[in-house]
């Protein structure tokens, strides 16, 4: 009797283990420098002699469900859906920050863009600029589109470590999907973020020049 039962239990366990699993898909954002199709990615560098200003990009805040690895699409004006099988390759905040750093470096002449928390005014003995971005929408929209929205804030940190806010601005960008599927959604989101960054860098350029 016990043999029979243990056999059944073993069968059940084996059955559970061997169950087929639906495959998972992982996506990443792609910046503009990799989109230039012919000559491969343009690599970027800037040294301290070329740069007049330092821009510190604070860790990007991504809110709520959006900060999951699962991709998110909108179902109605008030409902979002987290995918079960389609994931970002890294945390969205990391992906967005990496792309923001490279694009801002490209578009802002004479500005060294550093990422993260590793800038200290008192060690530099000089002032720097600080960009804080918070993302509220980063998902597939209702209208066959991808949307990204949020707020950015540019501040100047003086040599004593005091922070002076220069501008706070909201942004919203929408990009229609080129084809069906999550890959197209990832692409559209990349493009929307590119647009947002371009707009941001133009603003920042004037602000830094006038500050």
């Amino acid at each position: 009797m016990s043999r029979l039962l243990s056999l059944l239990a073993a069968c059940a366990l084996l059955g559970a283990c061997s169950s087929s699993s639906t495959s998972l898909h992982h996506y990443q954002l792609q910046g503009s420098e990799q989109n230039t199709d012919s000559s491969g990615p343009t690599l970027f560098s800037r040294d301290h002699l070329q740069s007049e200003h330092l821009l510190r990009l604070s860790p990007i805040a991504v809110r709520g469900t959006l900060n999951n690895r699962a991709m998110v699409i909108k179902r109605s004006a008030h409902q979002v859906y987290s995918a079960n099988y389609h994931f970002w390759a890294d945390a969205p905040a990391q992906l967005l920050a990496t792309m923001a750093q490279s694009q801002l470096m490209q578009e802002l002449d004479k500005v060294m863009v550093v990422k993260g928390a590793d800038v200290y005014a008192e060690q530099l003995q000089a002032s720097f600029f600080q960009l804080d971005v918070s993302i509220e929408q980063f998902n597939g929209g209702l209208d066959n589109n991808a949307e990204i929205a949020g707020t950015w804030r540019l501040s100047k940190v003086d040599a004593k470590g005091k922070l002076h806010v220069l501008k706070i601005s909201r942004f919203y960008h929408s990009q229609a999907l080129a084809e069906d599927g999550y890959e197209a959604l990832a692409k559209a989101l990349s493009q929307a973020w590119q647009q947002a960054l371009s707009e941001m860098s133009a603003d920042i350029n004037t602000l830094i020049a006038s500050a």
Partner: protein, 552 residues
């Protein structure tokens, strides 16, 4: 001429009578043969005769037929059935007094399926011959099959359990997970409120049962949560369903001599409980606490600087001293607590430990050894008895109260703090505050007079015309203040950099990121489990994602 007649007497008995005689002889011979062949008649008493058919149901020993049931009738009292059976004459010698009988019918239990063949053939009675030389012809049928045949070698022991869960007859006894015996009998002693078990340990494993052996209930499923994580241990399936009794020798203990058959042991509800309950060599002490004993429970540890040396037995101690309960004494308002000092906890050799303790305890008391209550768990408020050295304590010795030895105590923790606070409050109370206040008032009045004098002095034209030196000094002072302010700002910045850039900060940051990444990885699984808790066991999948669409 006529012939003379011969008269001859006819034979008295006709030879025809030989035939009935022969028949009688043959009949008698057959009867004798039958009687000689018949063997013993036995009577079996049983509660009911379910499945038993007269003339058909057989009695078997090891599947060999030794007899047949030939009559069934209800007893006069109508509360049982008497069955008569004829035993083959070759097997008369098997009918010993301690033989056992039971009905073999299909049974399903955790050990498997038995008696399956009787589904078609009908039930039979299994007969297990005994060892006694005394033969009988009356037997009683067992309700359940005899667990252990009379020919199985082994030894029987007694187990009593006061609070362990109730186990069934047939439950296995395990040594390091290997089955070496089983529970043979189990009954509840209502008088003592103790569950009493009879154990049968198969040969040669009875040699494992020694004086220091402990018995505990082995749970089928053991879940352990500790610093290493969660560990789940399961035994075999029958152990999982029925549990079992484990026996073993505590680590660092010698097994001691092998005990005789019939030795009594106690059964504990778990291994840790069994370890706690094996200190049989102890002395009672009464400790009188001059404070509330709230939070002290029976079974709480008695420790000496963190080492456990005993157990709290009664809270409060229910001892009568001079006919009155000791915890409502006339002479003292201390609450007595009865504790055991368990010598086995001091040292492995209890005899040596006892001698050591008893020869030294007076000396330790002279040096300031006292018992006190210490909080063991701040959340539950549980406290334990702690022995420690208090060199400032007033001298004390062991005293007698009734039949108990009283161990001196000192107040501790909150109550000690409360006592100190009380002292401070008393001192405050003794301060002559009113007097000080009136003095203060007087001083204030004096100052007021002085201030008025100063004002008139300042307002005098002569004073106003004082040289500009003072204002220059003031300018110097304010300059120093500014410098000081700058230094403070510099200091502030230095501190900030220290906080942000320190190695500790970096390390914390990277650890947090790692944790975050791990959480991200686990998220889909936890979400799936949330929606379908059985998805790990059954082949379930999460619903397919909707596809984002383009406009075309």
């Amino acid at each position: 001429m006529t012939k003379p007649a011969f008269i001859q007497a006819a034979a008295r008995i006709s030879p025809i009578w030989l035939i009935p005689l022969l028949a009688l002889f043959v009949g008698a011979w057959m009867l004798l043969e039958y009687q000689l062949d018949k063997g013993q008649t036995i009577y079996i008493k049983m509660v009911h005769a379910e499945g038993i058919v007269a003339g058909k149901t057989e009695i078997k020993v090891r599947s060999v037929k030794i007899g047949t049931i030939d009559a069934i009738r209800l007893a006069q009292s109508q509360d049982h059935v008497i069955v008569r059976a004829q035993i083959d004459k070759h097997y008369d010698s098997l009918l010993s007094e301690d033989a056992k009988m039971w009905v073999v019918k299909p049974r399903i239990d955790e050990t498997g399926v038995t008696g399956f063949s009787t589904l078609l053939s009908g039930v039979y009675i299994e007969f297990a011959p005994g060892e006694s030389d005394k033969l009988v012809n009356r037997f009683e049928l067992l309700e359940e099959p005899a667990l252990i045949g009379n020919d199985v070698q082994g030894a029987r022991y007694k187990l009593s359990s006061r609070n362990a869960e109730v186990l069934d007859v047939g439950t296995g006894v395990y040594f390091k997970g290997y089955r070496i015996g089983q529970i043979e009998t189990a009954h509840f002693d209502w008088d003592q409120q103790v569950m009493r078990y009879g154990l049968f340990i198969n040969a040669p494993y009875e040699n494992l049962v020694t004086l220091n052996t402990i018995f505990w209930v082995q749970a089928g499923l053991e879940v352990n949560l500790d610093v290493d994580g969660i560990s789940v241990k399961t035994g075999s399936l029958s152990k999982l369903l029925k549990g079992g009794i484990s026996l073993g020798i505590p680590e660092d203990n010698s097994p001691g001599p092998v005990v005789k058959e019939g030795h009594s042991f106690s059964l504990s509800e778990s291994y840790s409980a069994a370890l706690e309950q094996r200190f049989y060599d102890f002395d009672h002490y009464l400790i009188q606490f001059e404070q509330s004993i709230r939070g002290l429970r029976e079974g709480a540890p008695v420790e000496y600087r963190g080492m456990r040396i005993g157990t709290v037995e009664q809270v409060p101690a229910e001892v009568l001293i001079d006919g009155a309960p000791a915890h409502f004494g006339d002479t003292t308002n201390a609450v007595p607590v009865l504790v055991r000092i368990e010598y086995g906890r001091l040292y492995r050799d209890t005899q040596q430990a006892r001698e050591y303790w008893q020869s030294r305890v007076e000396g330790w008391l002279a040096e300031g050894l006292r018992a006190s209550l210490k909080p063991g768990n701040l959340l539950t408020g549980a406290v334990y008895v702690d022995l420690d050295m208090y060199p400032d304590a007033e001298p004390a010795v062991l005293t007698k109260r009734g039949e108990y030895t009283v161990f001196p105590s000192t107040s501790s923790g909150i109550s000690a703090l409360a006592n100190q606070l009380n002292d401070v409050l008393n001192k405050v109370k003794n301060l002559k505050v009113e007097q000080s206040l009136s003095q203060f008032e007087q001083t204030m009045a004096n100052y007021e007079a002085l201030a008025a004098d100063m004002r008139t002095f300042i307002n005098e034209p002569a004073t106003r015309a004082l040289p500009g030196d003072i204002s220059k000094d003031m300018a110097d002072i304010s300059q120093s203040m500014r410098q000081f302010e700058q230094s403070m700002e510099q200091f502030e910045i230095t501190m900030a950099s220290f906080q942000n850039g320190s190695g500790m900060y970096q390390e914390l940051q990277s650890t947090l990121q790692q944790v975050q990444r791990l959480m991200d990885e686990l998220q889909p699984l936890s979400r799936g489990l949330n929606e379908q808790p059985n998805m790990l066991i059954f082949d379930k999948e999460l619903p397919v994602d909707p596809t984002p669409r383009s406009k075309d």
